[in-house]
């Protein structure tokens, strides 16, 4: 589901925008092919473990179609929130193995949205360079602690 | 300067000057023509009768004579149909109304595009049918000259280019702004040709019918 920012200024802006009654019923013709693409990707994941990334913003969609797609994919058992240069969200849909990963920027605007067909989205996995840095910090702090504790053991 | 700037700018103004100059020249030339005075005694005298006679001629000659109906009904009805369609397209398409407003200072509501598209398509279909008929009909082929060809093609061109611009089709690989420019230039070509070709019948047609009726009523002939 599309998240709406709680920033008061944004809320006011969105309310003003949505008061412009633009009811457009159009179809881009891309919704069904997208679902088929997801289906094929899930099949491939099960067969040979290949993950697939689909950029939702790159697909021409009529107004309201993206919301429809997200609503049809639904929500599953896992929803992870990341806090990195603004919020990001990795939500498993009602179809296990199909995730929706949304990156918001510092002003809570959805910048990119991917459908990832995978066991775990890459962004959720701890990254090696970050783990290396973390290990260095932990080692440094442990060494400091060890220096401070009197040698009673 | 892009071709669109040219079409919206100097080309339009040049064409406009030529159109106005041409209409004024030919119309006033006709009106100022010296006529021999008719010295015969009028059967039906007076200006009122002349005007009535003129108007009658305009009305009566706008429908085919009863005797010729069988031969020319097709031409008659299709001719009216495409003329009406052409002017409805020009006067009631939403995109044209700001142009009209800029010339006249006022405009009117536009028709829905769905309706206009049907009218324009029918108009174009009729025009093309009549032109092809003109090219192959044994009699029409003989009496058609270069003036006719140019006049017909310049009447069709704004419709074709207008539909292409409206539907955002790319003709000859041109992008929209160039298709729009071609449409404007086709209209400007029509404006330049109008005073000098057979299309000038839009001015002379009614004037000459009126004059004919006004002249003949003097002799007591109801034309």
């Amino acid at each position: 589901m599309m998240e709406v920012s709680t920033d008061p200024e944004r809320v006011e802006r969105r309310a003003a925008l949505s008061s412009i009654a633009v009811k457009v019923e159009m179809s881009s013709g891309n919704v069904k092919p997208l679902f088929h693409q997801v289906r094929h990707a899930l099949q491939r994941l099960l067969t040979d473990g290949t993950s697939t990334l689909i950029d939702l913003k790159a697909i021409p969609l009529a107004p309201g179609e993206e919301e429809r797609i997200l609503a049809e994919l639904g929500s599953g058992e896992v929803c992870a929130e990341l806090n990195v240069f603004g919020r990001s969200e990795a939500r498993e849909t009602a179809i296990p193995g199909v995730w929706v990963v949304t990156h918001y920027d510092g002003q809570a605007a959805p910048r990119t949205r991917f459908i990832e067909v995978t066991r775990v989205p890459q962004i959720l996995c701890s990254q090696t360079p970050d783990m290396v840095d973390g290990l260095a910090r932990l080692t440094a702090s442990l060494n400091t602690d060890l220096e401070q504790v009197p040698d009673v053991i | 300067m892009t071709i669109l700037d040219l079409a919206r700018g100097p080309a339009f103004y040049s064409a406009f000057i030529v159109l106005v100059a041409g209409i004024v020249w030919r119309t006033s030339g006709l009106l100022l023509m010296r006529w021999r005075r008719n010295l015969a005694k009028p059967r039906v005298p007076g200006a009122v009768a002349a005007v009535a006679g003129g108007l009658r001629a305009v009305a009566m000659r706008s429908v085919p004579p009863h005797e010729l109906e069988k031969n020319i009904t097709f031409q008659h009805f299709t001719g009216y149909a495409w003329h009406i369609g052409w002017f409805v397209t020009f006067l009631f398409l939403g995109a044209h109304l700001p142009f009209i407003r800029s010339i006249l200072g006022f405009s009117w509501p536009n028709l829905p595009n769905g309706v206009l598209l049907i009218i324009t398509a029918i108009t174009l279909g009729i025009l093309l049918t009549l032109y092809i008929r003109r090219l192959f009909h044994p009699v029409l082929r003989v009496i058609t000259d270069m003036d006719d060809h140019i006049s017909v093609l310049l009447t069709i061109a704004p419709l074709v280019t207008g539909i292409a611009a409206f539907a955002h089709w790319s003709i000859f690989g041109l992008r929209y702004e160039n298709v729009l420019a071609v449409h404007l230039l086709s209209v400007e070509a029509l404006m330049v040709w109008l005073p000098f070709g057979k299309i000038f019948h839009c001015v002379t047609g009614l004037l000459t019918r009126f004059r004919l009726g006004a002249t003949l009523i003097r002799r007591g002939v109801r034309a």
Binding site: V22, I123, V132, D133 | T2, L19, V24, T27, R34, E177
Partner: protein, 360 residues
């Protein structure tokens, strides 16, 4: 673990950008550059290894709007990552140094990175008089020519640098020209717009960093990925245009219903930019969505294309008064021509009558 802060990935890490943050940025840029999502690992790898480029930003006849567009973010945005990762060695608005120190820093950076630095230019260049635009007493033509010599590529940011923009608007008192009129031997990418969308500027920079070359350009030298489609083609109000439902004035019922703004002068059909998709202010909105027609600011000469509120179907070479003058000229010409014809006819008639009289 040792870091080499001349490498972009390490530089960002040293400044507290986690690998996740970096991947998030790469995902946003991959999407912004309209690349296939499968390219994400390649983009991340290339950016990770990219050398932090030296960037020289030369401002000429500009209003600083382009810099404002880029930097006017209230909270850290993804753009700032790349913006801070480049080595911005000269930028009037943002640099702390001033005067001779700043100029020396520029010269040093240009020499040290000769042939490798990226030159960003905003503002047009006046050819009328060198004094119209100078920095430290040197004319902008001089400065541009010198800076371009050692540049790997030039990014002309904003319509002024790309096409001449506002300074070039009639009557063009300074004889302003774009970068491409002066520099002919360096690759130039025009990122036009008044101002350009910040995400577009950043995506172009990212593309150059990732792939080491300029993105595919259109006939006007603009990146096709952002300038390949017209506003009209991606406008959400398009269905109203197709149906012929137009707003007639800014506060009428049609405007409130969000109808097409064609009659109010929208230049969307002839303007190529990413406003309708990428939008402004971090994707908040764009002029048409806010109820104002597109003014065509990414196109050359947009200031001289008639009124912003004149529809595309309205002639724009002057006002109604000039049209009246044109009509008057037409009437005068026409009347003169017919008077001449009448005179000739009179002369001919008299000659004929005289000849008849002579015969009898």
């Amino acid at each position: 673990m040792s870091y080499d802060d001349s490498r972009l990935g390490d530089y960002l890490r040293l400044r507290g950008v986690s690998r996740r943050g970096f991947l998030k940025f790469c995902a946003a840029m991959t999407s912004a550059m309209a690349l296939a999502p499968e390219m994400l690992p390649r983009v991340a790898g290339a950016l990770e290894r990219a050398r932090r480029p030296s960037v020289i930003w030369m401002p000429f006849q500009e209003c600083t709007g382009c810099t404002e567009s880029l930097t006017r973010a209230n909270a850290p945005t993804l753009e700032r990552i790349i913006f801070e990762a480049i080595s911005l060695d000269y930028q009037h608005t943002l640099q702390a140094a001033a005067g001779t120190a700043a100029e020396q820093a520029r010269q040093d950076a240009m020499q040290a990175n000769y042939g490798q630095y990226l030159l960003i230019v905003d503002g047009s260049i006046p050819l009328g008089n060198p004094a119209f635009c100078t920095i430290a007493g040197r004319s902008s033509v001089d400065l541009l020519t010198e800076a371009a010599k050692g540049a790997k590529a030039i990014i002309a940011v904003g319509t002024c640098a790309a096409f001449g923009g506002i300074p070039m608007a009639r009557p063009d008192p300074t004889q302003a020209v774009p970068v491409s009129e002066i520099i002919r031997d360096r690759p130039i990418v025009n990122v036009s717009g008044c101002p350009p969308i910040p995400a577009v500027i950043m995506a172009v920079l990212t593309h150059v960093l990732t792939f080491g070359e300029l993105p595919e350009l259109d006939a006007l030298g603009r990146p096709k990925v952002f300038y390949g489609e017209s506003i009209h083609d991606r406008c959400y109000r398009r269905p109203f245009y197709e149906r012929g439902q137009f707003a007639e004035s800014f506060d009428d019922e049609g405007a409130r219903q969000g109808w097409c703004l064609f009659k109010l002068g929208c230049k969307g059909p002839v303007t190529y930019n990413a406003c309708a998709t990428v939008k402004w202010n971090d994707g908040t909105s764009f002029p048409i969505e806010a109820g104002h027609g597109c003014i065509g600011c990414a196109e050359p000469g947009f200031w001289d294309r008639g009124g912003f509120y004149d529809a595309l179907s309205v002639p724009h070479w002057g006002t109604l008064k000039e049209l009246g003058v044109a009509a008057g000229a037409g009437v005068a010409l026409g009347a003169a021509a017919s008077a001449l014809a009448h005179h000739k006819q009179t002369v001919a008639t008299r000659r004929e009558q005289r000849a008849e009289k002579d015969e009898t």
